[in-house]
């Protein structure tokens, strides 16, 4: 006999809303259905009503973790519509910010996985070390998140010699700490027991469902969009990390190795940073046309399609963030798994949604719960 268990939308496995309708037979998951939309903010529609420059700020606010990659992708897309060549120094700075962002996203994820398998110390240590990256980002850009570094035509700030030195010191410290994580996450018998052969996504399924990012690379598929050589990736030595275990342990391995790669890329960009302007002159009118821009966000392929009709505002900006592509992988990963492994499997795709949209109020003195939906809240706002 099968039982239905609703998981979420209140923070299943992580502090973001999604709803999983899980069917179980005993302890084994037999089917799962994912419900989304708790935080849909209509950003694509909004972008059609703002000009190209304003949209940089909207793109920045799509995601709190990977805000830099959204503005990079959007800006590079508009630059390709304009036929602009960005100064080399700006490309290097963009690459540094993108890789610092990958670092803090991966540290955050390592902490989440540790937390889900009950290793609270590893969770705290990895989030403590993530602060090193966030401090560097704050010193370079002025903000821990939403860095506001990118603009159409280049970047808004440079990286001073002192900051370059400080970043190199931070990288050296993180290199040592990541070596320790590698020991803990890949060799510890408890972590291995909770992650080996858990949440298996076979290579064939990963290919068929068009899954992206570290998940697909942990399933033997060599797919990393950085090979398309956007930003300054053509100028640095790096290699995509591919593993063959297809399970959560492989995803840990991929992400930890990617941390080393990111540290290497940042070091090369700082050591070979060219001199020159930060930004090029941007023509006032974006000509009619369309473009596609793809980048490798920390969670996988980020896709932008931008169409211009020659006016001040884009005709269409279509955005496909990586979690949207990776959701389909949940089904093959969860079916056949133990219910107790559900949190760590859901966390293993590193899902990224955003804030909630409804308000529930329990009236004082009674136990009656009232749900205030969007329409009622609007009515309350308009009432005298």
């Amino acid at each position: 006999m099968s039982t239905r268990i609703p998981v979420g939308p209140q923070h299943p496995a992580l502090i973001e809303p999604e709803h999983l309708d899980v069917k179980v037979d005993g302890e084994t998951i037999t089917d799962v259905d994912v419900h989304l939309g708790y935080i849909h903010r209509g950003i694509e529609g909004l972008m059609q009503k703002k000009n190209y420059q304003q949209n940089v700020y909207i793109a920045e606010r799509i995601c709190g973790i990977c805000s830099g990659v959204h503005t990079s992708t959007y800006s590079e897309g508009v630059e390709s519509l304009l036929g602009l060549e960005v100064p080399k120094r700006a490309k290097y700075i963009r690459t540094i910010i993108l890789e610092l962002e990958r670092l803090h996203s991966h540290y955050l994820w390592l902490g989440l996985v540790a937390y889900e398998i009950g290793l609270d110390t590893a969770f705290q240590i990895s989030w403590r070390d993530r602060e090193i990256v966030l401090d560097l980002l704050e010193k370079i850009t002025g903000n821990r998140i939403n860095y506001a570094m990118n603009t159409i035509g280049g970047v808004r700030r440079g990286i001073t010699k002192e900051m370059q030195k400080e970043t190199l010191q931070g990288i050296d410290a993180l290199w040592e700490k990541t070596k320790y994580y590698k020991e803990v996450f890949l060799k510890d018998s408890i972590v291995r027991a909770r992650t080996k052969n858990v949440g298996v996504l076979k290579k064939r399924d990963a290919e068929r469902y068009s899954v992206a990012g570290p998940i697909v690379r942990a399933s033997s598929v060599d797919f990393d969009v950085r090979t398309t050589n956007y930003a300054a990736y053509a100028d640095v030595k790096w290699k995509p990390i591919v593993r063959h275990g297809c399970d959560i342990n492989s995803r840990l391995d991929v992400r930890i190795e990617e941390v080393f790669e990111a540290l290497n890329i940042i070091r090369q960009c700082i050591e070979n940073m060219p001199e020159g302007p930060l930004k090029t002159i941007v023509p006032p009118v974006v000509p009619k046309g369309e473009t596609i821009m793809r980048t490798e966000a920390p969670r996988g392929e980020l896709f932008y399609y931008i169409r211009s009709n020659g006016t001040a505002m884009p005709e269409r900006v279509k955005i496909r963030p990586p979690t949207y592509a990776n959701l389909l992988a949940l089904k093959p990963m969860l079916i056949g798994s133990e219910l107790a492994d559900l949190p760590v499997i859901v966390a293993s795709i590193d899902p990224c949604f955003s804030c909630a949209e409804r308000v529930g109020v329990i009236k004082e003195g009674t136990n009656k719960k009232e749900i205030f939906d969007g329409r009622r809240l609007r009515m309350m706002k308009d009432a005298p």
Binding site: G45, S210, T291, I292, F303, Y305, R320, L327
Partner: protein, 128 residues
């Protein structure tokens, strides 16, 4: 790959190509992609130009993005699902019908993927 089967090349960029594919040869173009070993789909974009609806299927071939652009009428826009050949497209097709009111034959769903029940219907249509 025989690119003539994909349609007329309408735009080429650093790492992407966009082909204008007539609706009647859409299936032939998909078969050509599958025969060339392409099964990764990035997403599906829909654009309401005010005169027509452009549906763009973005596939990935190595380092390159290959896009097939199909033009549909604004009134009674219909297209067949591709989810059997490209299972990764299942959510993108649902988003397309939710945001632009394009009927995807074979992938209709009574439930919305993103929008609330009381949200305006087809918010990316020009009339809004």
């Amino acid at each position: 790959m025989d690119t003539s089967k994909l349609g007329k090349l309408s735009k080429e960029g650093r790492d992407f190509r966009i082909y204008s594919t007539p609706l009647k040869s859409f299936e032939r173009a998909l078969i050509e992609l599958l025969h060339s070993g392409i099964e990764r789909i990035s997403t599906i974009s829909g654009v309401d130009t005010g005169k027509q609806i452009d549906v763009l299927y973005h596939f990935v071939n190595g380092n390159e993005s290959i896009t097939l652009k199909i033009v549909l009428p604004r009134k009674d826009a219909k297209i067949k699902t591709i989810k059997k050949s490209f299972p990764g497209a299942v959510l993108y097709e649902r988003e397309l019908s939710e945001m632009l009111g394009v009927t995807v034959i074979g992938n209709e769903s009574p439930k919305n993927l993103f929008l609330d029940k009381e949200s305006p219907k087809c918010p990316l249509r020009k009339s809004l």
